[in-house]
Amino acid sequence: MDYIFDNERPIYIQLVEMLRIEIVSGKMKQGERLPSVRELALIARVNPNTMQKALVELEEEGLVYTERTNGKFVTTNSELINNIKKELAQEKIKKFLNDMENIGITCDEAIVYLQKLGGDINGITRM
């Protein structure tokens, strides 16, 4: 994935968000061993201290755990992953509905639009 940062927000928070998505989307698999902090920092081209801070945060959330002497792993707790996925989805939907409202489309109208699309993003051009 591309790590592109917005300098206006703390870098570690942006890293947490990016890694969280990697995990809930399954790009980082359950139980997978993470590269070392230094390696991860190099991949994201950030300071190792910042990456460390992000991993601590993910560990507090439970998405990552440390096995002593063995490194860090992605959680195998599917329920937790699903819950976080739902939270993320809710956030995105809220933002989407907000954007719709700003252009004068009510929630009900937005739902109709979405149903018309029938899950086909390319259908937008046909509407």
Binding site: N7, I11, R45, N49
Partner: protein, 231 residues
């Protein structure tokens, strides 16, 4: 004990105060941005730390000792302007560094030079400005030092070279070592900083964790710096 500490540090030239009462502590394992406009006093501070200038008053402690022969082993310094003999080729420069610094890791330097596809028989005078900057950085980062002090490492290089320089810094500083980067090109570098120090008119105006400052001001370090020092 701090890696580097400045206590009430002052420097005057011809009765003009260039640095006024600088107090600062630099711990181990951090990347710190020394940020200020041209003429703010950044290079003077760096030269004092590197024992190239003598303080008018106050004290500098590096691992608890004043600057001197010992501190030159601890600090690896990239000056603003190149000091390499342009008539030397890269191989000669490597030998020179090896003889000069006991902590120079020539294997590392050779590997980094190889990644750049640089022929070690190339004369410095035949290299582009960007290439010379890269060579100089490789030499400095190939020393197993405790403190790297880089004075304007991004001055006058193109964006691709800028990325190369940042990556080389990130991937080569020793674990537990600290890096001080002086620059006025904040936007390019702020992503890798732990801490920022704003210097203006010979004084330290602000010292903070970079992420805490972003949270507090809801802006980038670059933006915050511009607000502070609006001309």
């Amino acid at each position: 004990m701090e890696l580097l500490e400045c206590k009430n540090l002052c420097k005057e030239f011809d009765h003009k105060e260039i640095l006024k009462n600088i107090n600062l502590k630099i711990p181990k394992g951090k990347i710190i941005g020394l940020l200020g406009k041209n003429g703010a006093g950044k290079t003077t501070l760096i030269k004092l730390i590197n024992d190239l200038l003598t303080p008018t008053s106050g004290e500098i402690l590096i691992n608890g000792k004043n600057p001197g022969i010992l501190s030159k082993e601890i600090i690896s310094y990239l000056p603003e302007r190149t000091y390499l003999d342009k008539d030397m080729n890269i191989k000669q420069v490597l030998v020179y560094f090896e003889e000069f610094y006991s902590n120079f890791n020539s294997n590392k330097a050779e590997k980094l030079l190889k990644d750049l596809n640089l022929d070690i028989n190339t004369k410095i005078s035949k290299m582009s400005k960007g290439m010379q900057e890269k060579l100089q950085l490789i030499l400095v980062m190939s020393r197993e030092a405790q403190l790297y002090i880089l004075d304007e490492p991004l001055g006058g290089v193109d964006p691709a070279t800028r990325d190369y320089i940042l990556d080389t810094i990130l991937s080569n500083f020793n674990e537990g070592a600290s890096v001080v980067i002086s620059t006025h090109l904040i936007a390019d570098i702020e992503r890798i900083l732990d801490e920022v120090i704003f210097v203006d008119n010979g004084e330290i105006r602000l010292m903070s964790s970079a992420d805490e400052l972003r949270t507090k001001e809801k802006a980038s370090i670059d933006e915050i710096f511009r607000r502070y020092f609006k001309c």
